[in-house]
């Protein structure tokens, strides 16, 4: 029986041991872990642990005491039980591409790296699902499905590296979420090792299971509900064809109006990516695609579906863009031309590297129609702080990724980046949005939680976490603020710097 909500808010998590290298308990734990994963499956030398001191969020760093590489669910269960026995914290890590510190081993302890569990266990086209291990790289699943007529739909920009287990932890999105949804829409079931070492199954390969939607609840837990050891994912039919366009607008407002009208016309593009003037200039300087430097916004629009339907959709899109004062539209009529258009989008981050030694990619969401306001605010913020900020993002979802350019050797600029980021995220909230669309709360945005949610919301979330992870021994101090956190507290990270593009 779990205690009532309000009591939980006043409970501190049980205190966990800090492992000291060379201590008797450290040696005993290493010895027992080695028995489970073998000598080739464990690291505990300080030098070797450095790689694991942070993920894609490199502001805060702390190394684990021990890293293990299990190959089976049973091994993970035994490892977790050992951690409980030794009272040391543990957490899972996939490819370490989290941009919010989801894999930061707060308090050290044991890091359970899942990259050796990367097999496809089953592909069942008749029943439209695949069963994979959590360390499976997202893109590898789609590559394995090539030629079957099916794919795994969630495609985060890091899909060449990130793992399905990590995608489940953060409920990853990607450029195609407008039409196809995010991870939670494609996860049918899972197996997990709970923080006490027990093994559970939630959901299953069938279209639904009776009762509460627990696998849905599990998605997006950011590693705090235990370790996902097997995922049953839905497979999606490949589209027969694509049409890709690049539409150049004088203003962001016109581009945003075009987006709303395309969707209102009943067309859900598979991708709707926007680049603002700042990034257009950067891309043009670097790669000479021929974009006019005075354009306010460029939209990459892609529709997919049956070949017979696409020409009419393209005709409507062109008509809408024209009614929104589009300056120019480039159409890709061949696969090569399509690749070229996508190249301009995908190389945007490469272009940024030429502009600035460091950059910080933020992740905020606003209702789609509020994009002009948030982008105007970002421009004002850029001027106010004397920081260059450029934008390339998933416009169809209202998911902005302002990229703040700075020099990390300049302490004053670092402070400005922190303040500007916070101001932008605050504005997203003010416009009815969210501080994260796909990167997660992790440790990075934990102080925002009490601005988005009231004490009862947070207490209910804590009640739920308590069921899965009562001692907070698994991925501690993530997602939910500590009870003592003052709602008005500020972001305290000291060192924002270059982050992986998304």
């Amino acid at each position: 029986m779990v205690e009532q909500t309000n009591q939980l808010m006043n409970q501190a998590p049980a205190s966990l041991e800090e492992l000291e290298s060379g201590s008797a308990s450290f040696s005993a734990l290493v010895q027992q872990l080695t028995l489970i994963v073998g000598e080739a499956g464990i690291l505990f030398d300080a030098d070797e642990l450095l790689v694991y001191e942070c993920d894609g969020y490199i502001v805060d760093k702390t190394a684990p005491d021990i890293v293990v590489f299990p190959t089976t669910t049973a091994q993970i269960s035994t490892i977790v039980k050992l951690c409980n026995q030794f009272n040391v914290p543990f957490l899972a890590r996939g490819a370490g591409t989290s941009l919010s510190g989801g894999c930061l081993p707060i308090g050290g302890g044991v890091m359970i790296v899942l990259t050796k569990m990367k097999n496809i266990l089953e592909i069942n086209l008749r029943d439209r699902y695949a069963v994979v291990e959590p360390g499976m790289v997202n893109l590898h699943l789609t590559n394995a499905l090539k030629g079957t007529g099916y794919h795994y739909a969630p495609d985060p920009s890091s899909q060449g590296a990130c793992t399905i287990g990590g995608n489940i932890a953060t409920n990853s999105g990607g450029p195609h979420t407008l039409k196809y949804g995010v991870t939670t829409n494609h996860l049918l079931g899972l197996e997990a090792v709970l923080p006490d070492g027990s093994i559970i199954e939630l959901g299953g390969p069938t279209a639904e299971v009776p009762g509460y939607d627990l696998h849905g609840l599990y998605v997006g837990n950011e590693g705090t509900f235990g370790i996902c050891t097997k995922a049953i994912v839905r497979l999606t039919r490949d589209p027969e064809s694509h049409r890709t366009m690049l539409a150049i607008f004088q203003t962001i407002a016109e581009a945003t109006r075009a987006i709303s009208e395309i969707i209102a016309a009943g067309i859900i593009p598979s991708a709707l990516e926007m680049m603002d003037q700042g990034i257009i200039q950067a891309v043009e300087e670097a790669f000479h695609f021929g974009f006019p430097l005075d354009a306010g916004a460029v939209l990459l629009i892609e529709v997919d579906g049956l070949e017979i339907a696409l020409d009419e959709e393209v005709r409507q899109i062109l008509e809408i863009c024209n009614s929104c004062n589009v300056r120019d539209i480039q159409r890709a009529d061949t696969p090569e031309e399509r690749l070229l258009i996508w190249k301009s989008r995908k190389q945007a981050f490469g272009a940024i590297g030429r502009l600035s030694p460091s950059y910080c990619t933020q992740d905020g969401v606003v209702p789609r129609t509020r994009l002009p306001e948030i982008l105007e605010f970002i421009e004002e913020t850029s001027n106010r702080y004397g920081l260059r900020i450029v934008n390339v993002f998933h416009a169809g979802d209202g998911n902005v990724h302002p990229i703040l350019l700075f020099d990390e050797r300049d302490k004053e600029q670092i402070q400005k980046v922190m303040e500007a980021s916070e101001a932008i995220l605050e504005k997203c909230l003010e416009l009815g949005g969210s501080v994260t669309g796909e990167h997660g709360i992790g440790v990075e945005k934990i102080n925002f939680m009490s601005r988005i949610f009231n004490q009862i919301d947070l207490a209910t979330m804590e009640t739920v976490r308590h069921i899965f992870n009562p001692r907070q021994i698994c991925s501690r101090d993530k997602v939910l603020p500590n009870h003592q956190t003052d709602g008005s507290s500020k972001i305290t990270q000291s060192h924002p710097t270059r982050r992986a593009p998304h």
Binding site: T5, P210, L214, L306, A459, T463
Partner: protein, 416 residues
């Protein structure tokens, strides 16, 4: 289906979620009566125990639109809004919630979430879990909590929205919901195929995975159900055999092309007949498919969830027991209306036990979808514990520690 219940039942009709929260808080502190959330009362016969003693929360006055930014294609409404009312509001803007809801003139949005109601379109559009972007609900202690927000993409905090899907009013009373909407399609048509053998049906369904068309729904019915569906739709349709009925949505030329194309594709499976149904007739037939799962006067309606590849095995067993079967075939969701001859509880239990044998217990589930009220306490809603049942019990205890929210039914969900 009757929703009459016996017992000492009071009714409370909140006009705001704050008022509801206050009421549940006071109930938890003082009287500790059982609370039964009720929307359109379309599912009470199985979702509540037959003997209701306590307070029924009638959400009919929680029916306001809170926010409808039309161009963002999201809407926030109170959970007692009836589905027809919601559809009317969003349809005027060319939008829709692509979830099929039987008895939509009575069913409410909160009820659809609590019962995880879906219909034929789930094959292409998913279920209600895929459209709820924000939720507010009140737990057994009266705590009004929210999860998510009003934007379509948001990963801040745990996804408590999902936990309430299928919760049958046992975890919290859903009070307000934000939804992601979709544009209405230009047109829809259906193609009605008759097959004389299960083998041909299975081959056709198997071929669907690589069809050149993209159906929005793939419905199967056995001849008993086909006759009822054809009669109800008032269309002249061959219904003496197995039927697969496929729907397509989109621009009319694309819909027509697909309808003709699937007929060509399925020639090799020797259908006895195929017929394209368009415009108003298609809408009428589609609506019958949506309503059929609850439209029966038969004593018990079963729902089975199986892998699509194993569905026809279950269908054969059920048909032999004279059960009328409709299935969302591409998803393996089967509804079976038991015959009138199953007139006693013993008969029903006997049929359940026989049907359970044709389900793979690792990947299939049998549930009672509707039944005579007086039997509801004696039949478990879930014929076997679903995965995560122990966690479900813990969640129930955590959110409703005094066991006040429809708790008797929760304990009866699984046969012990």
């Amino acid at each position: 289906m009757s929703s009459l219940h016996s017992g000492d039942l009071e009714e409370f009709v909140p006009t705001s979620q704050i008022e509801l929260s206050r009421f549940i808080t006071e109930n938890a502190i003082a009287t500790q009566k059982q609370i039964f959330p009720a929307g359109g009362r379309t599912s009470l016969s199985v979702c509540c125990p037959a003997s209701l003693s306590g307070t029924q929360i009638c959400t009919s006055q929680l029916n306001k639109v809170i926010d409808y930014p039309v161009r963002d294609m999201t809407i926030t409404v109170e959970a007692g809004m009836r589905i027809d009312q919601l559809n009317e509001i969003i349809s005027a803007e060319g939008q829709r919630l692509p979830i099929d809801v039987p008895q939509s003139n009575r069913a409410t949005l909160g009820g659809v979430i609590a019962t995880n109601t879906s219909g034929p379109k789930r094959f292409s559009y998913g279920t209600i879990r895929d459209y709820v972007i924000g939720i507010s609900a009140i737990d057994g202690k009266g705590n009004l909590f929210k999860s998510g927000g009003r934007v379509v993409k948001n990963v801040a905090g745990y996804d408590l929205k999902k936990m309430l899907v299928g919760s049958l009013g046992t975890l919290a009373v859903i009070s307000q919901v934000s939804l992601n909407l979709r544009p209405k399609p230009e047109s829809m048509c259906m193609v009605w195929f008759a097959f004389d053998s299960y083998v041909n049906v299975e081959q056709a369904l198997n071929a669907m995975i690589t069809s050149g068309t993209r159906p929005t729904a793939v419905e199967y019915c056995n001849s008993k159900a086909a006759r009822q569906i054809a009669a109800e739709s008032r269309l002249d349709l061959p219904s003496e055999h197995n039927v697969i009925c496929i729907s397509y949505e989109g621009p009319s030329n694309v819909v027509k092309w697909q309808a003709n194309h699937i007929i060509e594709e399925w020639n090799e499976f020797s259908p006895l007949s195929s017929q394209i149904i368009e415009s108003d007739h298609a809408t009428r037939l589609y609506n019958v498919f949506t309503e059929y799962q609850t439209s029966s006067d038969d004593p018990v309606t079963l729902k089975a969830v199986v892998l699509p590849s194993q569905m026809m095995k279950f269908v054969e067993s059920a048909t032999q027991l004279n059960i009328a079967i409709q299935a969302h075939a591409a998803d393996g969701i089967v509804f079976g209306h038991l015959p009138d001859s199953a007139s006693s509880l013993e008969d029903v239990k006997q049929i359940l036990s026989q049907l359970k044998k044709s389900i793979d217990h690792k990947t299939g589930y049998l549930t009672v979808y509707q039944c005579e009220s007086e039997w509801s306490e004696l039949l478990p809603l879930f014929c076997s514990p679903p995965p995560g049942w122990s966690l479900m019990k813990q969640l129930k205890n955590a959110l409703d520690p005094d066991q006040l929210l429809n708790s008797k039914r929760f304990t009866e969900l699984v046969e012990t």
